[in-house]
Structures are given as structure tokens and as C-alpha cells.
């Protein structure tokens, strides 16, 4: 079988798996969305106030914090995974929590990776709001709270783009969650899902394991779903960027 035929066969089987709503594929997709979605929500709740503080407050260590955020935007995921692994293993400082190889550990890893990205892009969007806009709020009788709300309104498309960029990064991430999540799928039937329901297996980690097992069609199916999700997110981000 030529490599082209091999690929075509893989793609056709992949579409079969997707359109038949294969429980294994669905459970992996569900875990991916749940883990990355939760991490992005938590990161957003931290990143937006942090971006505002960095944009408007002048405090000691502000420049150092900005430098830290900028560095954090390029953090190597495997390093984050290793760090959290060391913290969460039974012998580690947070070992008592018994959270290694759980979705919570994966959420923590993605939270650390995504927070600087959302903070950095949001900060740039907030700082891009022209100073006269804020001054006009004051000239029209507004106070600092109204100035912050106005800044959010003016920077909203940039902030939404930041959140979507964070979500995209979380969904595509593999190194950290592989280390702290363990790529675990159940053996036997669990919750009616059937053989191989995912516990900490995500689209990205499943692609690595399915490929190493030689199940290329499943890998391609997972890849198509992953690319579709990221493409949708990027199209949304692009839409908001154009509106901004």
C-alpha cells in the first residue's frame, strides 16, 4: 500500500469514526474541551485584572512583573509539566493533595501556560486605548470605575482575541499535560461510554499514543477534530480582530 493510499484510507476511516460519534473519540474530545476550557476560564479570571493592574497601577515591581508575563508567554510546556509533576508527586510539596495524573493537575498546568498569554495580549490591547479616550470619560463627569469600563469596551475585541489565543494554546498543548495527566484512558466500560473512555487523555496526548500504537486512522480523526477546533477559534479571533 502506497503512502497516499494509506493516508486516504486513514482519512476515510477517520470521517467514519467522527460521523458515527465514536464514544472513544467523543470522550477524548470532551476531556480536552473540559480541561482546556476550565484552564482558560480560570486564566482569564486572573489575567484580565492582572492586565488592568499592570496597565493602570504604578507599584514597585511592576516592570519586573511585566517582564515575567512576557517571559511566561513563551514558557516551554514540558518545563511547566515537569515543575508541576515535582510539586504533585507523593514525595513533592503538594503530594498530600493526591492530584498527580488527574484532570485537575492538567488544568493547573494549562492555567500556568495560558495566564501569561492572556495577560500579555490583554495588556497590549488595554495600553493601545488612546489616552484621550480615558481623559474624555473624566471630562464628561466619569470616575476611575467608568474609565476602566470604557477601557474594557474599547479594548474588548483585543481582550476576546487574547482569551481565544489562550484557549487555542491550551487545546494544542501536549507536553505539560502528558507529564502531569499521564494520558490515562479506562480499560473496560465506564459510565456507558464503552472501552477506553478517557480520564486524562486529550486530543493531543491521544494522537501521540494512537500513532505509537499504529492506529493512524484514529490519530487522523483526532487530528481533524483538533484542527477544526483550533481553526474555529482562530476564525473567531480573526473576526474579533477585524472588528476591533
Amino acid at each position: 500500500m502506497s503512502s497516499t493510499e494509506f493516508l486516504i484510507q486513514g482519512i476515510s476511516k477517520a470521517f467514519e469514526l467522527i460521523f458515527s460519534l465514536n464514544p472513544y473519540i467523543l470522550s477524548i474530545t470532551g476531556v480536552s474541551i473540559k480541561v482546556s476550557g476550565t484552564a482558560t476560564i480560570l486564566a482569564t479570571l486572573t489575567a484580565i485584572p492582572l492586565a488592568y493592574a499592570l496597565a493602570f497601577l504604578h507599584f514597585r515591581g511592576r516592570q519586573a512583573l511585566i517582564a515575567l508575563v512576557n517571559t511566561g508567554m513563551g514558557l516551554p510546556p514540558v518545563f511547566v509539566g515537569l515543575f508541576i509533576f515535582i510539586m504533585l508527586v507523593p514525595a513533592g510539596p503538594l503530594g498530600f493533595a493526591n492530584k498527580i495524573f488527574t484532570p485537575q493537575a492538567m488544568i493547573l498546568a494549562q492555567y500556568i501556560l495560558v495566564t501569561p498569554i492572556i495577560t500579555g495580549i490583554s495588556l497590549a490591547a488595554i495600553k493601545a486605548v488612546p489616552k484621550p479616550i480615558i481623559e474624555t470619560v473624566y471630562t464628561l463627569g466619569g470616575n476611575w470605575k467608568e474609565a476602566i469600563i470604557m477601557t474594557f469596551r474599547e479594548a474588548r475585541f483585543g481582550i476576546i482575541t487574547a482569551i481565544l489565543a489562550g484557549l487555542g494554546r491550551a487545546l494544542a498543548e501536549v507536553g505539560a499535560i502528558l507529564i502531569v495527566g499521564g494520558n490515562i484512558a479506562y480499560t473496560g466500560s465506564v459510565g456507558g461510554i464503552g472501552e477506553g473512555a478517557s480520564y486524562t487523555r486529550t486530543l493531543t496526548t491521544a494522537i501521540t499514543s494512537e500513532t505509537s500504537k499504529g492506529d493512524i486512522s484514529t490519530s487522523i480523526a483526532l487530528g481533524i477534530i483538533l484542527i477544526s477546533l483550533n481553526l474555529s477559534i482562530n476564525m473567531l479571533a480573526n473576526f474579533f480582530q477585524r472588528r476591533g
Partner: protein
């Protein structure tokens, strides 16, 4: 005319650069007072001090019958040289000052429509503000500045970026606001012809110093300072 506010011995510096020196000035209720002078004379800084944006290094501002602080700022309005446009509809832009003051929705609608009519933008409430031309944007900014009937309107070279038709339009609006609402207006400009057309009194600023305050007729017919006379003649007075 009753004096509405007074600037006493005000000075201002940015770092080591002194931008206003010992300014003494009284503004009368209901007048159009023009602050003239070349670029960099300190006109904008003085307006920003009047709007309580900048705290002067020395001196005081005394407002006759007006409180200080936030309450006072809510009774005035400052219009910038370049129109500032919020990323929203024309209606939302104009309504902003009213919403901040907690006006009722119906009153907001009524006042915004009135303000848009006053500045010659009737029926444009639904337009995206960022799609307006320069002249329209400045008129919208004007509507936003006057919609809540401020007692004091501070204008920082509001027509410097506009074509002659829009300049005439804005000047007409300024005069009508003063005549119909009794608003006290301070306008910073370096356009001598504009001063002749709309001002009641004039103050000449040069290098941060208020070198003369005179009536409109006085400044054109019998200026008290040779440097004012030179500025009126269109000569360089740096």
C-alpha cells in the same frame, strides 16, 4: 457681568520646564473668552488646569458658587482639538455624559436628539461614530460635551483640523450655545479671525505668561502690549 471663576497666581511646570507663569485671570459668567497665543504658549495646559486635569504647581482656582473636585468637573466640559470618538454608535457617544449622571432613559433619548439637532447631525444616532468624517466627529463630540448643559465649556482649538465650512458650523454652534443656554465658554485658539468672529474678551498667552487681557475690540484696535499687537498683525512673537 458676574465673575464665574478666577485663576490666581497659577504656575505650572513639567519637570524643569516652566509652562505657565503667575497667571491671574477672571472669567465672567456667560462670556466667550478666547485664549490666544502661538503653539506651545501654554493654552492647553491652562485649559487642563481649569478642567481640574492638572494640579498647578502654585496658585489657586476660585469658582464663584461652585464646589471643587468631582462635582465641579461634572458642571463643565472640555473638548479636545482632535475629536475623541468612542467605539460605539453616535447615540451612545452623545449619551455618555447623561448615563454617567444617571439620567432616565427617556430623558437621555430626548436630550441626545436635541443635541444632535443642535450640531446639525439629526437622525445620525444609529451611525457608527468611527465612520464619521472629521467635521462630523467634531460636531458629535460637541453634542456630547453640551448634552448635559455644562455651565462651563472649555474648547481646545476645536476647529484647527477642519475645513472652512465646518469651522463656520462649529463657530455658529458655539455662539448659539452661549446665546441660548448662557454657557460660559473658554476657547483656546491661534486663529485671530475666529477671535474676531466669536469672542467677547481675549487673553494673550506667550511663553506661559498672560501678557494681556482685553475686550475683543480693544485687542484689535488698541492692544496694550506690543507683543500682542505683533501677534494680531501675524508676526512671529517667540
Amino acid at each position: 457681568m458676574e465673575e464665574l471663576f478666577r485663576v490666581e497666581n497659577v504656575c505650572m511646570a513639567f519637570g524643569k520646564k516652566e509652562v505657565l507663569k503667575n497667571i491671574n485671570l477672571g472669567i465672567r459668567r456667560g462670556e466667550i473668552f478666547a485664549l490666544i497665543g502661538p503653539s506651545g504658549a501654554g493654552k492647553t495646559t491652562l485649559l487642563r488646569i481649569l478642567n481640574l486635569f492638572e494640579k498647578p504647581v502654585c496658585g489657586t482656582l476660585i469658582f464663584n458658587g461652585l464646589d471643587t473636585g468631582k462635582t465641579l468637573r461634572r458642571r463643565m466640559s472640555l473638548l479636545f482639538q482632535t475629536p475623541v470618538v468612542f467605539n460605539a454608535s453616535v447615540f451612545e457617544n452623545v449619551a455618555y455624559g447623561l448615563k454617567v449622571r444617571g439620567f432616565d432613559k427617556r430623558i437621555i433619548e430626548k436630550k441626545v436628539v436635541e443635541a444632535l439637532n443642535t450640531v446639525g447631525l439629526p437622525g445620525m444616532g444609529k451611525e457608527k461614530a468611527r465612520m464619521l468624517s472629521g467635521g462630523e466627529a467634531q460636531r458629535m463630540a460637541f453634542a456630547r460635551a453640551i448634552v448635559y448643559d455644562p455651565e462651563i465649556l472649555l474648547l481646545d482649538e476645536p476647529t484647527s483640523n477642519l475645513d472652512p465650512a465646518n469651522v463656520a458650523n462649529i463657530e455658529d454652534i458655539i455662539k448659539r450655545i452661549r446665546d441660548e443656554r448662557g454657557t460660559t465658554i473658554v476657547i483656546a485658539t491661534h486663529n485671530i479671525h475666529q477671535v474676531r468672529r466669536i469672542a467677547d474678551r481675549v487673553g494673550v498667552l506667550l511663553n506661559g505668561e498672560l501678557i494681556e487681557v482685553n475686550s475683543k475690540d480693544g485687542i484689535f484696535t488698541a492692544p496694550q502690549d506690543e507683543r500682542s499687537a505683533a501677534f494680531i498683525r501675524g508676526e512671529m512673537i517667540y
